[in-house]
């Protein structure tokens, strides 16, 4: 039997899904986190049910892609669990009534029950059950309250003959039922309301946004560095002796030694430069990248669960509109900072092809993933803040310029934003940690094999002399245009596999600060890693991907070359 979880956006369908199935899905406090359906299994005493988490929808007649997925899914479902935001009963009931019209057996989960109690609304769920003619269960998915009862009463799902025709009367009915079963107590403005107003205030809002973004960046940079230093010590104290012992066993040199341990520098293993599988191959992802990824996802997840992202979208909307995308596009762009792959996928929440193309291109060109940023921060940070400031300043400038140009040249519509601003919520630590854990787990499983493969390929290339060949072949571009040593060309090739490994390859080249800046910017801007490329192909199709690639090559040549000349002339 197939159970569909259906309801308005941001009512907690995914939270209920993970409670029912025990599987982990990303839950946030804004609409559109689920852009594609997710399957899971629920074992009851007598059956195994297939549970499907459907993207949120306001009506059964779709108005965007996520809603189209929802309305197509209905035909395949045997039972519908209709999830309602209990604090927003009327509009939830409108969808409930539409569902009842389809004749499907329905159970209603009155979710966010904790919010109802806090906001002074009293809902008589028994009366609602009587009125609708289907089971109604009060739940709070984030704490798990009411979930056992929901599971127990699932077999009681039934169809109801409450409504017989679609149309405007459905709204009237929803309004009648809603006012019949609930009493709203008038409440005075709370601290939360005041905070709410301040964060979207025309004057304070942008300052608050700037403050939040700077604070987030500073936190990621400093806390990431703090964790990195600890892990670096662990590697030096625990792993170094073990690796040196293995190096001795392998005879201190030779092909196998160089692949596993890497090159010794003054007879010692150097985790950043030796480039062996067991040394640099584990050091880069676990000791350098992981601390920054963790810090980033900690900040992002808190911002998501509190409900700040849609408000950030409101504040930046006027600016983003000039780039041909509306304010909510900040969500895919922010996700892209963690890893480009989920960022590109989140672009699906946008409606038109033009918007999706612009967002995908911006992510691919000007949003470097955290893995890459961690390496660049390590590489450039040693020489002070100036180098990093130039790199990020350049990316910011590119963001604006490429956005403006794309908006001008790309045909199509850029609709205005229309979004719910969910109430601010105190994050539930349990679900917050679960989300961070999932994202970390995703990184380790997804990235570690590629990093190891990257390091392996680098070693094979060196041994076979392919690196030398590439260096010579690309010298006119790499040296002539960007002013970089020829070996940096090999890093650009490896960057296609993993960007963090590519940045790691720059470390032993002994470049000047101005060269490091140019190399970092070129690596960040040009081709995203293969995983992102595959997702881009799936999301925007071959034609748009070719267009994107052409824009990217143009941007990287102009920016890399321009920056090289600029830094040279200013004697940086």
């Amino acid at each position: 039997m197939r159970v569909l979880l259906l309801g308005n956006p941001n009512v907690g369908k995914s939270a209920i899904f993970s409670r029912l199935t025990g599987s982990h899905v990303v839950v946030s406090n804004y609409a559109g986190t689920t852009v594609e359906y997710t399957r899971g299994a629920l074992r009851t005493e007598d059956a195994e049910l297939e549970v499907i988490d459907v993207p949120g929808t306001f009506a059964l007649e779709p108005t965007n892609r996520a809603e189209a997925v929802a309305s197509e899914m209905i035909a395949d479902g045997d039972v519908v669990v209709n999830v309602l935001d209990a604090t927003n009963l009327e509009r939830g009931l409108y969808l409930t009534l539409q569902l009842l019209l389809t004749g499907k057996p329905v159970v209603v989960a009155l979710n966010m029950w904790d919010e109802v109690q806090k906001s002074g609304i009293v809902i008589n769920s028994g009366r609602l059950e009587e009125k609708l003619g289907v089971p109604v269960i009060a739940t709070c998915a984030l704490t798990g309250e009411g979930i056992p009862l929901l599971k127990k009463r699932l077999p009681e799902a039934r169809s109801s003959s409450l409504v017989s025709e679609n149309g405007a009367s459905l709204w009237q009915k929803a309004a009648d039922i809603s006012s019949d079963v609930q009493q709203k107590a008038g409440r005075s403005a709370t601290v939360r309301d005041k905070l709410d107003h301040a964060t979207v205030h025309p004057v304070y809002g942008p300052f608050f946004a700037l403050f939040v973004l700077l604070l987030s960046f500073a936190f990621v940079a400093y806390f990431g560095d703090f964790l990195h230093e600890i892990l670096e010590d662990v590697f030096e104290l625990v792993w170094l002796p073990a690796a040196m012992w293995m190096s001795g066993l392998l005879g201190g040199g030779g092909l196998v030694h160089d692949i596993l341990i890497g090159g010794l520098i003054d007879g010692q293993i150097h985790f950043e430069e030796s480039f062996g599988l067991l040394t640099t191959g584990f050091y880069i992802p676990l000791a350098v990248v992981l601390p920054y990824i963790f810090s980033f996802y900690l900040v992002l997840s808190v911002l998501e669960d509190v409900g700040y992202l849609p408000r950030l979208g409101v504040v930046v909307d006027a600016f983003m509109q000039r780039l041909g995308i509306h304010g909510l596009s900040i969500v895919p762009l922010m996700l892209g900072i963690g890893c480009n792959v989920p960022g590109v996928m989140a672009g699906r929440m946008l409606e038109t092809r033009k918007e999706r193309f612009i967002v995908a291109t911006l992510i691919a060109i000007v949003v470097p993933c955290m893995a890459q940023q961690a390496m660049v921060i390590g590489l450039l940070g040693q020489a002070g803040i100036a180098g990093l400031a130039i790199v990020y300043g350049t990316l910011f400038l590119l963001w604006i310029v490429t956005g403006l140009i794309m908006n001008f040249f790309i045909k199509g519509e850029s609709p205005e934003m229309l979004i719910d601003l969910p109430a601010y919520r105190k994050p539930y630590w349990e679900s917050l940690w679960k989300k961070i854990y999932m994202r970390m787990n995703g990184f380790i499983r997804g990235a570690l094999p590629y990093v190891l493969l990257g390091v392996f390929v680098v070693n094979i290339f060196y041994t076979l002399g392919i690196i030398d060949y590439i260096s010579r072949a690309f010298a006119p571009v790499i040296t002539g245009l960007f002013g970089l040593p020829g070996e940096a060309g090999a890093a650009l090739i490896i960057g296609f596999l993993r960007k963090d490994v590519a940045v790691g390859m720059l470390a032993p080249l002994g470049m000047e600060l101005n060269q490091l800046i140019v190399a970092s910017v070129v690596l960040m801007v040009y081709f995203p890693c293969i995983a992102t490329f595959v997702v881009l192909f799936k999301e925007i199709g071959l034609r748009d991907l070719l267009k994107l690639t052409a824009i990217m090559i143009f941007v990287v040549v102009v920016t890399g070359g321009g920056l090289h000349l600029l830094l040279q002339h200013t004697g940086f």
Partner: protein, 81 residues
């Protein structure tokens, strides 16, 4: 006296009369509970052509100015400033 939502003052309350936009957009607004007969109030707006923030049924939503211009409302108090 009808006016568009964009002409409504901040904190002024009004009843929604009609939406003069595409039927698709109308359906989306309706789905969000922003529909004929509902009371709507304007919470704030952003400078430089940013979106307008409204409150319907105690829930807030942000909508673009173009959309707000097409939403026709009837203020409840004529002296609302």
């Amino acid at each position: 006296m009808y006016k568009s939502l964009i002409e409504l003052n901040v904190k002024e309350e009004a009843e929604i009369v009609s939406f003069n936009g595409s039927s698709l957009m109308n359906r989306r607004l309706e789905g969000m509970g922003i529909r004929q007969g509902k009371m709507i109030s304007r919470i704030s707006s952003q400078y430089i052509r940013g979106p307008v923030i409204v409150s319907v049924d105690g829930h807030q939503a942000a909508m673009g100015r173009g959309m707000a211009m097409k939403l026709i409302v009837k203020p409840v108090t004529s002296n609302g400033v």
